[in-house]
Symmetry: C2
Subunit: 429 residues, 2 copies
């Protein structure tokens, strides 16, 4: 029997309780395991009242619940940083396993949490933290162990993918879609965390850690969000046979790790390009396995709760029949932070959208700067814009190192004819 | 330490040996497990000679190897039915776990193999048997346990998908592409097993068993292959915004199981429609998780070998640190065969392509027969064909039960104007 102490009765916590109630008998019969909700904990009496009424043991004192020897595993679904960090460390110190969906916490405090768990031989499971409904953590830890992941590209923020999909499908601009997404509940009132790529970076840090076998610190990941993507960028992408997606990217690079989050031009024949709206997807390229894609719901009450319950079932199976070494810790060295490839050393094909006054000689100056920086041009298109007197100049470069692309675009932005800072977006391939 | 006895040094067997050699040190260091190739067995001295030269213990006597107490797990990669069945049963009787990629054997003899393993508390792992590079078995057994699979549609035969993809992309007919596929090694000299859907049915039986929790017997699954799909069918599908795919299908239907294999019209906005060439894919609809798709290499030396090795790693992790109940058996009742929904009771939208002499009144007769069988017509298109004096009449029906569709098409085929048996293809949705 696995005795569960649950903190958080909100969206996901409530879903976890519902699934355990729904599946408890099936798990007992088919798998011989017993998931027991030993204590349900939330901040207020009001929050736990409905569960108390159903006969559950409830609490508003998380510390006491964690200290209780009758709990085997802490399921932390409260969200936030400070209290969950304290609870999880206390639970591990008290010899309890941990299941959480809190990617922000793991990305930020994983360097404390994972080593402690490893030293105690305890599990910290977090399938629900990345790509809710996609069993990607389990795939990386178990299904794909016969291969080494060479590269990973993922769409792991539903809000961003929803906004970019609707911009592409309806030709709308960013602010219009964001407002509508907020109205419909697909974006938060303060959307910064999502649209600036921070949430994607948390998840990318976890995936890159599992892929590389080294701890990848979230703070070291280069992040560019989607708030500066315009309807024009998306229209031009379409003309070029691409869609724009916010991607989390990992590449194996010798002993170093290339991990970053930024918008990308994705060719329409790539599997990721047709992953739309709130769907998430993880695309992997592996040495033995080749390419593989997993798509599914990235968030939402039941998909996320379902992933939490899958972790609880795994845990119950492991510890019911004899301890086995905790899995996730085996897969990356939690003590030492990986060395990341600086973004300036990465290479890509680039899209520059340069807005300039419509004056003679600008094109010559731009191509001159590109030539000075040894950047080969694949395509150059001049476009009229609604703004009279101005033009858009779109440049697609051949593959070039970021530092040269940056230097060139800084020089271009400094030209007197340039009206605003140029848009810079990388191609996925 | 997991002591492995391997039978079969062919494509996949050789790949397994290569991956174990490549990853052995990494597994020891990161996971604390040791995969030891204790004995490599093949039919002839010539086959095992290269491994003997490398210092491995080799054998040409599978029975003796299986009887050897120094073997913990039999890895059966020989292929075929009779000998592998005998070996696997002998291994289980001798208390050894089994890992195999032999879907045909499991589909045919699973009713002997699984109960024996269950009664002995042993594992029979077969990740490599379905969708080689896609960790779908593990997902169904572990990652998705928080949900119930309501329906599954999968592309799980690379040969068929390759042929259909090239027919669609190049407008070629079936025989031309098949010959080219044979020349290129994507189809066997005798392609019956693949193109008639038998291989897909083996895999669908396994997936339907895992989804339903009941043993689904391969022999009871309705199977239609792709050999009668014409370039014209594919062209018409494209006009209708669809691609034709050979699908393995599972639907939960109360206590019964709807499992079948047949070509389908798949709408181009469905995730499965862009899975092309030899790629495989499994699309699931789950109660809590919603929709999810996994795509990857379906076959090939290293993807398949990689899946076998993932099973060996799971096994080593389980048995190194204390026995745990064998997993797969928990998930379906191997004793009792599931009751299947007869194909005649299933419903779908239908595509009929009727070839008729170009005579007045035929359309009236056809629509009359459809009306008699209470079949509503969604679209009806008359098409000229190259054959002078004949026309093609394409009917798309609304959703109708198979028995009514069959009765109508039999009546249509019996009309004196009808030149050949009509083509009948279901829509996925």
């Amino acid at each position: 029997m696995l005795r569960i102490g649950l903190i958080g009765t909100g969206t996901v916590g409530g879903g976890v309780i519902a699934i355990i109630e729904q599946k408890k008998a099936e798990y007992r019969e088919k798998l011989g395991i017993d998931l027991e909700l030993a204590c349900i904990c939330a901040k207020t009496d009001e929050e736990v009242a409905p569960y108390k009424a159903k006969g559950y043991t409830v609490s508003t004192d998380a510390d006491a619940m964690i200290a209780n020897p009758d709990i085997d595993v802490l399921v932390e679904l409260a969200g936030g940083y400070n209290m969950p960090r304290k609870w999880i460390l206390a639970a591990l110190n008290a010899g309890k396993h941990v299941v959480t969906a809190n990617k922000a916490l793991l990305a930020k405090h994983g360097h404390e949490i994972f080593p402690l768990a490893a030293s105690k031989g305890l599990h910290v499971l977090f399938e629900a933290a990345v790509g809710g409904g996609i069993p990607i953590i389990r795939s990386l830890q178990e299904g794909l162990v016969g291969s080494t992941v060479e590269s990973l590209s993922c769409i792991i923020n539903g809000t961003c993918n929803y906004i970019l999909s609707r911009m592409a499908q309806e030709g709308l601009d960013f602010d219009t879609v964001l407002k509508d997404a907020q109205r419909l509940g697909f974006a938060e009132a303060d959307p910064t965390f999502d649209i600036e790529g921070i949430d994607s970076a948390h998840k990318t840090a976890l995936l890159a850690s599992l892929c590389s076998g080294h701890r990848v610190d979230f703070e070291k990941i280069h992040v560019t969000g989607i708030s500066k993507i315009t309807a024009q960028d998306i229209a031009i992408a379409k003309e070029l046979g691409c869609t724009i997606k916010l991607l989390g990217i990992y590449n194996r690079d010798g002993d170093r790790v290339d991990a970053r989050v930024h918008p990308c031009f994705v060719p329409q024949n790539h599997l990721l390009s047709s992953v739309n709206r709130v769907l998430n997807a993880v695309y992997l390229n592996c040495d033995n396995l080749g390419e593989t894609l997993q798509t599914g719901a990235g968030a939402g009450r039941m998909p996320t709760a379902s992933a939490v319950v899958a972790d609880l079932v795994s845990l119950a199976r492991s510890i019911d029949t004899g301890k086995r070494a905790a899995l996730p810790m085996g897969w990356f060295n939690v003590e030492n932070s990986a060395t990341l490839v600086p973004i300036s050393e990465t290479s890509a094909r680039y899209y520059f959208r340069i807005t300039s006054r419509d004056e003679r000689g600008v094109l010559a100056k731009i191509t001159g700067i590109l030539a000075e920086n040894s950047i080969s041009i694949e395509t150059i298109i001049q476009k009229d814009v609604n703004d009279p007197g101005n033009v858009s100049i779109v440049v697609i470069t051949e593959k070039v190192q970021d530092c040269r692309a940056s230097k060139a675009i800084d020089a271009i932005n400094a030209l007197p004819e340039i009206v605003e800072n140029s848009q810079v977006i990388r191609f996925l391939a």
